[in-house]
Symmetry: C2
Subunit: 328 residues, 2 copies
């Protein structure tokens, strides 16, 4: 039997924790260590047998770790960490600032080409599984429209926005795709709808004692960029209800390609995710592409790669023969 | 601008015709010729400017055609034709006898390795898009179950079977997935259901004049292998209704992976197709993977390949830079 792929995790928030759990589900991987900027003693991971080390120690693990999974944030952590780590390790990350991906790719590719390492960037579900479905379904159905719907899901940015409103003690915001528009798209009607027509927003708010709830509701609904263009509903609930009903991090969505072939036949391809835990699913994608980073590097395919560059067989623990025999 | 990919079609039934229509939708391909075993004068193709030639002429086109798309049947045509053509051309096919794929792969690979050509085998929707979704979603969610549902769609084999019943003049059979089971799967209930529990069958029959319809219905419903294990409904209709309502070839289905991550969070990934025209969609997949066969061969990746060996970016007409910038 081949030896296992030796994996490290950098950063231990929700995503890092999900990644630890995901590695434990993989038959061919072992987690060597978790690296954090925090004091290692303050980082409680799931498996007490795995080392937790300060991030500065990572450089001593170049011959003990095959692939490093970077679980930091896209705003500041990953743009700095991924190029740094790609000098020493094969890497995988879920960098998700869509507009800056070309720049991020270039900076990682330059380092990884020089170091001879392989870095799979921006894998998760969007960017990630949704991206690959957008490209494949458009290649199959070149005449048509692609629709991405997000939700039902908890939106971190919008939840932060409602919590900044005066009188709001706690709150969460869900992005919910419009059932009506999804139905139109599935029927091949190709509706011309903006992002705000495709989604509605629902907020669950715990108000400060004595706060003016009508004023809070009005302020949320008219907030520019975040809510003003959307159909928004605001519910006021108790702190207990918030904790009981809104502590998990569900998310998901749909990528629907509605195309035409031949003499106008409608052809619909749809990919959807319904996730109880957004960070755990993103972690699962990171882990599967860790296998790809390892294999690509073994084959000498160095530099930065995206999900478009990775043949699907590379993410499966099965051999090519098994895939042809049992799955094709 | 790069020159176009020069494509040939071998075999001109529903699939060959769909492939001709699909090539016309591609910005970077041109159809050079259609090859048939029939008398070329009897083969009416869509574009009168494209040559129709006898299949024996193909050997004279090795320097005029980059990729040959084989559109024959899986029972006898493709096992013979694909190895023969792989001696001379890069090829793409939709060979779909699941149980014999390993053997088919081996026979094509041997020839293509020797000739230095690239053959992408068994691409369509199942095998094809469904296969790739089964493998990717299982790699992402290793703890769980995968469910494939076929339909609603016209089944050729079952339609043939009902037409063999005495007293049946004409007839079609649709395979329809069970809404109830789909709902259970989407809810993460992981039901333990056989293929016959997952599907119902509906027949539309034109009876011969004076035939005993009760007897026909009984005979269909109790037919072993085909119907006996299924919930089957039989409708008797007129010949006009059959022609008006049941002449198209719709199909589709679902691949649903229901997995668990972390402390038991349900994660559902679903891929579905709703196709007005089954052969035209299969043709679209063939055409997209024609691009991949061409590019892989240019890079020196010879031999037989399956959908698992082809990075998604290879099937898109966009450059890697465009994909990163506009789709990721």
């Amino acid at each position: 039997m081949e030896s296992k792929i030796r994996v490290g995790i950098v950063g231990y928030g929700n995503l890092g924790r999900g990644t630890e759990a995901s590695i434990a589900q993989q038959p061919d991987m072992e987690l060597v260590a978790v690296f954090s900027r925090r004091n290692p003693d303050s980082v409680n991971i799931i498996n007490p047998d795995v080392s937790v080390l300060h991030i500065d120690e990572a450089k001593n693990y170049t011959d003990k770790i095959d692939v490093m999974i970077l679980c930091g944030g896209s705003a500041t952590d990953l743009p700095e960490q991924v190029p740094t780590f790609a000098e020493m390790f094969n890497t995988v990350d879920s960098y998700d600032t869509h507009a800056k991906i070309p720049e991020f790719f270039a900076s990682v590719d330059k380092v990884a080409q020089a170091s001879g390492k392989t870095s799979v960037i921006s894998v998760g579900w969007d960017p990630g599984m949704f991206s690959v479905n957008r490209v494949m379904s458009e290649a199959l159905l070149p005449e048509g429209e692609t629709y991405t719907f997000w939700g039902k899901g908890l939106s971190q940015g919008h939840s932060d926005a409602v919590r900044r409103v005066e009188g709001v003690k706690k709150g969460v915001q869900y992005t919910i795709p419009s059932e009506k528009v999804i139905e139109q798209v599935r029927n091949g009607e190709n509706p011309d709808v903006s992002k705000s027509d495709r989604h509605v927003r629902t907020c669950y708010i715990v108000a400060e004692e004595g706060a003016d709830t009508a004023k809070i509701e009005q302020e949320i609904k008219t907030m520019p960029n975040y809510f003003a263009d959307y159909e928004t509903t605001v519910h006021f609930i108790t702190e207990e209800e918030l904790k009981r009903d809104h502590s998990s991090m569900p998310h998901g969505g749909f990528v629907i390609r509605s195309g035409k072939t031949g003499e106008g036949n409608n052809q619909i391809a749809e990919y959807s995710l319904t996730l109880d835990s957004n960070p755990e699913f993103t972690a699962s994608v990171l882990t599967a592409y860790t296998r790809a980073a390892y294999r690509l590097n073994k084959e000498g395919q160095k530099g930065a790669k995206t999900i478009y560059d990775v043949a699907p067989g590379y993410i499966s623990p099965k051999s090519a023969e098994e895939l042809r025999r049992d799955y094709l």
